[in-house]
Symmetry: C2
Subunit: 306 residues, 2 copies
């Protein structure tokens, strides 16, 4: 494992060396740089395409899986397919950060296609952190695709964060929920300079009493642009909520297009969005406490993206 990978791993998944009881697979420039299965969590390579299958045995409780991926130089275009099979009533945390380092002129790109199959009553906490580093002029690109199939009574909580350094990202998520399933997504994105970030959520609420809650918070600084699109389709007795709030700083621009499709009289769907700059009085208040204007702004952004 090279130095850059170690740094990226620490940033995206709080990696401090091989975890003792957790399953893990580290992907470095398209290769496996380390793997460990446990008694309940099996990680195997795919035979037909790049990527791994992660199989969590039914009833597994409180275990962690780390599957960070790093691209450590320019002119690398990594594409990986990871499938997660979560057994009945299992309850696990999956950490899937991704770091992309560019040191030259070529593009450093990581595309991860993650598919989740949650069996009845399964519960997954999925953490995904994206970061770009390095002084190269080549663009750092991360285009993650997430597909989720939730069986009855399953729960998926997804936290996805992109705090800096990624020049271009297009995030796509599709989820299909059966009866009683719950999906909760928290997205945090900060862009600066000439960066671009796009998000696309599509959620199909298919089983009675299922529900989803999407919350996206973004900060667009510099000349950066962010676009948020979501579509929640209520096809049964269900609840859906989406919320996208954005702060604009400098010449950043933001587009928010959350769509609701109510195809059933018992579908209750809601969304809210608010885009604007930080209120002057908020800055002023922190300045009177001794902060400079820049420090005040940073503090507010930090709180907003927490």
């Amino acid at each position: 494992m090279n130095r850059i990978t170690e740094k990226l791993l620490a940033a995206v998944s709080n990696w401090t060396g091989v975890p003792r009881n957790a399953a893990y697979n580290i992907r470095e420039d398209g290769q496996c740089a380390g793997r460990q299965s446990t008694a309940h969590i099996r990680i195997t390579s795919k035979t037909d395409k790049p990527g791994i299958d992660i199989t969590v045995a039914p009833g597994t409780r409180g275990e962690q899986v780390y599957i960070p991926a790093c691209v450590t130089h320019s002119a690398e275009n990594d594409l990986v397919y990871n499938d997660f099979y979560i057994g009945e009533d299992a309850d696990v945390t999956i950490v899937a950060g991704c770091g992309v380092h560019s040191d030259g002129e070529g593009e450093a790109r990581h595309n991860g296609v993650h598919r989740f199959f949650l069996k009845k009553g399964a519960r997954v906490r999925y953490l995904e952190k994206h970061i770009g580093t390095g002084g190269g002029t080549g663009a750092r690109v991360i285009d993650p695709v997430t597909e989720v199939e939730q069986a009855e009574g399953s729960t998926m909580e997804m936290e996805t964060t992109q705090i800096g350094g990624v020049d271009s990202t297009r995030r796509t998520m599709k989820a299909v929920l059966a009866a009683g399933a719950k999906l909760r997504v928290r997205e945090r994105i900060l862009t600066d300079g000439e960066q671009r970030a796009e998000t696309d959520f599509v959620v199909e609420l298919n089983g009675n009493d299922c529900g989803c809650d999407l919350i996206s918070r973004s900060v667009a600084k510099g000349q950066s642009h962010q676009a948020f699109r979501s579509l929640i389709r209520g096809n049964c007795r269900c609840t859906g909520h989406s919320e996208c709030d954005a702060i604009i700083i400098g010449n950043g621009t933001v587009n928010a297009a959350p769509e609701l499709g109510a195809n059933h009289a018992d579908a209750a769907l809601i969304h809210e969005a608010a885009i604007g700059k930080i209120a002057g009085e908020q800055i002023l208040k922190l300045c009177t406490l001794g902060l400079t204007e820049e420090e005040a702004e940073a503090k507010i952004v930090e709180g907003f993206l927490r």
Copy 2:
């Protein structure tokens, strides 16, 4: 003027005979069935296409203009272009209802393209009511297009209502606002049976301190379908708000897609949407007051669309 027109006029514009001091133009099956100009409001026929020019003199205060249009039989496809030129600091009310009556198998259709040019400080209250009547199997179709150009400090208030009988409608509105201009839109739509209603708003907020407020309320009963789309673009220091709330009854379906585009750090944009059925407890409450379940539902819908 035929009997059907008289009935339609009463329904769409509270017409009770020729108004004494108001300007008016009545359109019946593609023809002019009556017209009156006033000292300050001139109505003239277009020479290049069907329709009229309505010119309101600068400083005109508290006057009304009635321009209802009726289609009174099937197999009629009426298309009209009406342009409104509102002089500086004028303050007028325009009533532009539209009634479509179908008695046979052919489609009865009215397409009105209304363009508004508001000069500096002008203020318009624009009321538009749409209705379909008659026992014919031919579809009643109304596809209104509204285009608004608002100069500095002008105000446009638009109230548009479609309460029943229109089988298909596609409502398109575009507005461009200069500095300090205000746009306020209230839309109320009820569909039933196999009816379809689509709404498309595009608002460009171009001048500092301009603002818009779009509120759409809809009730979809039977097998009917409604789709609401809006796009508010904040290109300067401005405020934009859109809200679309819908009640579903029976097998009605509703799609809401309000989009916000913040292209400036001082653009403050907000939207909200909520779709669902009437809460059981609301019905129950009215039933304990002696109403039947159907009466309670009708009461709630009436309040919601008021």
